[in-house]
C-alpha cells in the first residue's frame, strides 16, 4: 500500500495511540491489498456495551490518548445512561459502562449511543465512511449510496483518529455489484424478508425485488436483519436504492417465503432494533392510543436525540404504560437476560437474542407487538 510522506511520519509518531492506529490501518490495507488510504467523512464505533468488550476492552480504551479527526459517533451502550435502574442494571455494571463512555468522550467521540447514525450525521451518496454497526453499514451503503466496509469497533476507531481508511472492498464501485437475485412476496414483513434472505445469501450482496415497496423504515428493518442473520454489507432494491441500475442483474435467483416459528408467551415486548425513527415513534403512539393501556412489559428503544426532539410524544407513550429507553437496546443490554420470551418486530433481535442473551424470541410486526402488549 502506498503511503504519503505525512502518513509515513504517523508510523513514527511520538504519540503511541496515533502510531498504533496507523499500524492497524496499514495492516488492514496489506491484508486486503488496498492501494492507498482515503479520507473519510465520518466514523462510527461499535463495541460500546461493557457486556460485549469486558475489562480488557475498557482498559485498552482508557489507555488511548488522541482526538478523533472526523465526526465520530458511537453505538448503543449496555444501559440507558439516566434510567439504568429502571432497567434493572446493577451499580457494578453502571460503573464499568461509564468508564467506557468516559474513555470515548476523552477521544472526542460524540455520545450518540445509537445504531442509527444516519439520522444524526449528514451522509451523502458517494461519501467514504468507516462505520462498524452492521445495520448502519447496510443502510449507508444500500439506501444512501455512501461507501463503508464492515469495520470492527477497533478499526473504526483507528480510522476516526487518523481520519482515513484503506481503499478496498466497498469503497471501490466494482465491488458493490450484486451476486444473487432475491424475490420477496408482498405478504412478507421486510424484517422477516431480511432475516430469511440473510440466512440464504450469507455475506453476498443481494439484488432484491420487493412486490410491495417498503418505505425507508422498512428498508432499515430489512437491512438490519440481512446483516444479522447472514453478514451481508449491502443490498440493492429494484427501483428503490440509488445504485440498482449500475450493475448487471445476477442470474442466480431465490424466492423468499415467510417465517415458520415456534410460539411462546411473551413476558417482554421489545421494539426499536434498529433505534426508532421519528416516524416510527408516531406509528407506535397511534397504535397504542387505539389499543389502550399496556398490560405487559413494553420496552421501546430509540436515540436520546430522537427522544429530546419528541418529548411530548414520548410522554404520551409512557403515560400509556410503555417505557421509552435511550442509549441502549435489547440486543446489547444485559437487562434482556432476565426475561424468558421476547416478542419483537426486529429480524436482527430475532437472530441475536437467543444467541447472546439466552432468551426465546418470536417475531410479530409492529401492530402485532402492540396488540400483544395491550392484551
Amino acid at each position: 500500500m502506498f503511503l504519503s510522506k505525512d502518513e509515513e511520519k504517523l508510523l513514527e509518531s511520538d504519540n503511541y495511540t496515533i502510531r498504533k492506529c496507523m499500524e492497524i490501518l496499514v495492516a488492514i490495507g496489506k491484508i486486503f491489498d488496498a492501494d492507498r488510504l482515503i479520507e473519510i467523512k465520518s466514523a462510527q464505533v461499535s463495541g460500546i456495551s461493557y457486556d460485549n468488550i469486558g475489562d480488557a476492552g475498557v482498559e485498552w480504551l482508557e489507555s488511548l490518548n488522541a482526538k478523533v479527526k472526523v465526526p465520530t459517533l458511537c453505538n448503543p451502550a449496555g444501559m440507558d445512561l439516566i434510567r439504568w435502574r429502571e432497567m434493572g442494571i446493577d451499580e457494578d455494571f453502571y460503573e464499568k459502562q461509564m468508564r467506557v463512555i468516559n474513555a470515548l468522550k476523552e477521544l472526542g467521540v460524540s455520545m450518540s449511543l445509537t445504531c442509527t447514525p444516519y439520522y444524526l450525521v449528514e451522509t451523502n451518496y458517494g461519501d467514504h465512511l468507516a462505520w462498524a454497526e452492521s445495520s448502519a453499514i447496510v443502510y449507508a451503503n444500500s439506501v444512501i449510496g455512501a461507501r463503508t466496509n464492515r469495520e470492527s469497533g477497533i478499526t473504526a476507531l483507528a480510522s476516526a483518529i487518523i481520519g482515513k481508511t484503506p481503499n478496498y472492498g466497498l469503497h471501490i464501485k466494482e465491488n458493490r455489484a450484486p451476486d444473487v437475485r432475491v424475490i420477496v412476496d408482498k405478504e412478507i414483513d421486510p424484517a422477516i424478508a431480511g432475516y430469511e434472505t440473510g440466512r440464504i445469501v450469507e455475506d453476498k450482496i443481494p439484488f432484491v425485488e420487493f412486490k410491495k415497496k417498503p418505505n425507508s423504515d422498512g428498508l432499515k428493518a430489512f437491512g438490519a436483519a440481512l446483516a444479522a442473520s447472514g453478514g451481508s454489507p449491502m443490498f440493492h432494491a429494484k427501483e428503490i436504492t440509488p445504485e440498482w441500475e449500475d450493475f448487471e442483474i445476477p442470474s442466480e435467483k431465490i424466492v423468499i417465503d415467510g417465517l415458520k416459528q415456534e410460539n411462546c408467551e411473551p413476558d417482554l415486548i421489545a421494539i426499536g432494533c434498529p433505534h426508532l425513527s421519528k416516524e416510527e415513534l408516531k406509528v407506535v403512539y397511534d397504535l397504542l392510543s387505539k389499543m389502550g393501556r399496556v398490560k405487559r412489559t413494553l420496552w421501546i428503544f430509540t436515540s436520546r436525540n430522537i427522544v429530546q426532539e419528541n418529548k411530548e410524544l414520548v410522554k404520551k407513550i409512557e403515560s400509556l404504560g410503555a417505557k421509552v429507553f435511550s442509549d441502549t437496546c435489547m440486543v446489547v443490554s444485559p437487562a434482556t437476560r432476565r426475561f424468558e420470551c421476547v416478542m419483537t418486530n426486529s429480524g436482527k433481535a430475532l437472530e441475536y437474542l437467543p444467541k447472546t442473551k439466552n432468551v426465546r424470541a418470536i417475531f410479530g410486526n409492529l401492530r402485532e407487538c402492540i396488540e400483544v402488549a395491550t392484551k
Binding site: K20, E23, I24, A27, I28, K30, I31, F32, G47, N52, I53, G54, D55, A56, G57, E59, W60, S152, G153, I154, T155
Partner: protein
Amino acid sequence: MRIDVRVISMGYAEGEAIVSKKPISFYGDVDPKTGIIKDKKSDIYGESISGKIFIFPTGRGSTVGSYILLNLKKNKAAPLAIVNVKTDAIIAVGAIIAEIPLVDKPSVDLMNIVKTGDYVRVFAQNKGWIEID
C-alpha cells in the same frame, strides 16, 4: 532453515512452536486466562499456546477475538508470536494492540514443514523472516 514472510505486527520472538492445522477463533476457542485451547474440535485441544510461537493457517469468527488477544497478554498467557499462512483482520488488530509479533504469507508450504515442538525464531521488522532449527 530460513523462510521469508510478510510482517503485519512488528517485534522479535523465539521459542517452541505449537501448530494447529485449523483456522482459529480466539473468541470461544482459547481460554483468555490460561491460553489453553478449549475448542473440542481443535487438533490441539487441551494444549496451551502461552509462551509459544503459535502457528496456524488463518482466523475466523467474531471481532471480539481481537480483545481476547489483549486479555491473554494482560494475563501473561499470550503466545510469544503468531505465524499464519494468511492472516485476517481480527488477528491482525488483536496482535497490534497486544503487541504480539505477527507474520504471514510464508514463501514455502509452512504447514507441511513445521511441527509442534520445533524451535522457531520470528524476525518481524521492516523485513520479515522466520528460522526453524
